[in-house]
């Protein structure tokens, strides 16, 4: 099982390194979105708005990043993979891969964001990035499963957004809350409660994805 996950992850990285345009496209998407925001807003004085905008940009970027996770596998390659790997290994490797992708996007996004939208208001960087780390796991688990569902339908991209946004909202609201606390530099003990909720939602979504994915896999 572990070996299988390692091999599947290796496959993902190999594919990504061979098709650099897709990751470059994502980074460019992120940078252009932030630039559009920069042009529209000029500056964002309130921390609350700064925070919300950052997460909305990341939400759309991660939607694009994960939306293709089951569509890039062609029909024949899919059947080949089906005979080789267990569905559990496939979903775990996809979740880990998408989580790493989201982490990369959020670090780049954060850098460009503070560069373009004037200064870094975050006072507690450790809490901020713990939040990003936990958040990307939850995002990745939900988005990967929804991508698996929507890739089986006819209008997959619209459906991907329609299916995932309401499910992502509890996660997103908790993340925004913690992130706001980190920006304001509140005492970390206030945020522990929310970090716990975030970890709880992560556990639930990962377990659900793990249990339900085999049913999506057989076709």
């Amino acid at each position: 099982m572990l070996n299988e996950i390692r091999l599947l992850l290796y496959k993902e990285f190999l594919l990504e390194s061979r098709q650099k345009q897709s990751i470059n496209g994502l980074v460019l998407y992120l940078v252009s979105t932030i630039f559009v925001c920069k042009m529209c807003f000029r500056t964002i004085p309130q921390a609350a708005a700064w925070n919300a905008l950052f997460w909305i940009i990341l939400l759309f970027a991660s939607l694009h990043a994960t939306g293709k996770s089951f569509q890039q596998d062609s029909r024949s390659r899919f059947i080949y993979l089906y005979t080789l790997a267990s569905p559990q290994a496939v979903i775990i490797s996809k979740i880990i891969y998408n989580m790493l992708l989201m982490l990369l996007l959020s670090v780049i996004g954060f850098g460009v964001y503070i560069l373009l939208l004037g200064g870094n208001p975050v006072q507690n960087m450790l809490l901020f990035f713990t939040n990003v780390l936990l958040g990307s796991l939850g995002f990745s688990a939900i988005l990967t499963t929804m991508s698996a569902i929507s890739s089986r339908t006819s209008n997959s991209f619209t459906l991907m957004a329609v299916l995932s946004f309401p499910l992502l909202l509890p996660l997103l609201m908790t993340i925004i809350k913690i992130s706001k606390n980190a920006i304001d530099g509140l005492d970390p003990t206030i945020s522990y409660k929310y970090l716990l909720v975030l970890a709880g939602i992560n556990v639930i979504t990962c377990v659900l994805s793990y249990l339900l994915f085999p049913y999506l896999w057989k076709d």
């Binding site: 499963t145 569902i149 089986r152 339908t153 006819s154 209008n155 459906l159 329609v162 299916l163 946004f165 309401p166 499910l167 909202l169 509890p170 609201m173 908790t174 409660k193 929310y194 909720v197 939602i201 639930i204 979504t205 659900l208 339900l212 049913y215 999506l216 076709d219």
Partner: protein
């Protein structure tokens, strides 16, 4: 009509008549702000209970469909979700009316209310998903997976998260539930039968819808059979 099999339908009608009559004419504690709107407790809260019960049924039949692959289970899951959302919309309307007379607004951005709105969005997405898959087996499986996901997240959203935040809604964010200060023994006499009555009404609607759907299916399969014979 067979009384032995359908006794619960008589019970439903009886309970709902009792709810409406005793609910509007019975004595209620006089509370500031709430005043007479406290009677909405017999309608608003049981409707949400009805929705939860029906969505739970939908989730259970989703799991059954995943295990057995029977199309009938999928059909039951679909109709339970339809009836559940109908109850949810009623709960939303009664809640909105209640909010207008106690909080002074039809809608406010409160965690509990947002949770209810998100639940609606999730289940509308469920119907959109159902609509965009042609193959019956595949549709059942995708819909079942989504509905299990949706049900669990809904529990998180309307049962757990509102308790973490400040909320106007009773029972959340340090705000005591109704049982603490309003539900005295007189109200309990109406409230519990009301819960049972509304939940049973939801189940009844679901049952009728399932029967119609099954008949429609049979009609279509008969029609396609006769067509193939005449050809």
């Amino acid at each position: 009509m067979n009384i032995k099999k359908n006794w619960w339908k008589f019970l439903t009608v009886g309970l709902l008549f009792y709810t409406v009559i005793a609910g509007f004419l019975g004595k209620v504690p006089a509370r500031e702000i709430l005043n007479e709107t406290i009677r909405n407790l017999y309608f608003h809260v049981p409707m949400w209970f009805g929705m939860m019960a029906l969505l739970f049924i939908s989730c259970v039949y989703g799991i059954k469909h995943l295990n057995g692959g029977k199309l009938k289970d999928d059909l039951i899951a679909r109709e339970a979700a339809h009836a559940g959302i109908a109850m949810g919309v009623l709960g939303l309307i009664t809640g909105s009316l209640w909010a207008r007379y106690t909080w002074g607004t039809w809608w406010t951005s409160d965690t509990k209310l947002n949770g209810a709105a998100i639940t609606m969005l999730i289940y509308f997405a469920y119907f959109v998903l159902r609509g965009s898959v042609e193959d019956e087996q595949k549709r059942g499986r995708l819909a079942a997976v989504y509905s299990i996901f949706a049900f669990v997240m809904m529990i998180v959203f309307i049962m757990i998260l509102p308790r973490m935040e400040d909320s106007l809604h009773p029972g959340n964010g340090g705000n005591p539930g109704f049982s603490k200060y309003d539900l005295d023994s007189r109200m309990r006499l109406v409230f519990y039968p009301a819960v049972l009555g509304w939940v049973l009404l939801g189940v009844w609607i679901m049952q009728v819808r399932i029967r119609i759907a099954l008949l429609e299916e049979q009609y279509h399969s008969d029609q396609s059979n006769s067509q193939s014979v005449s050809l």
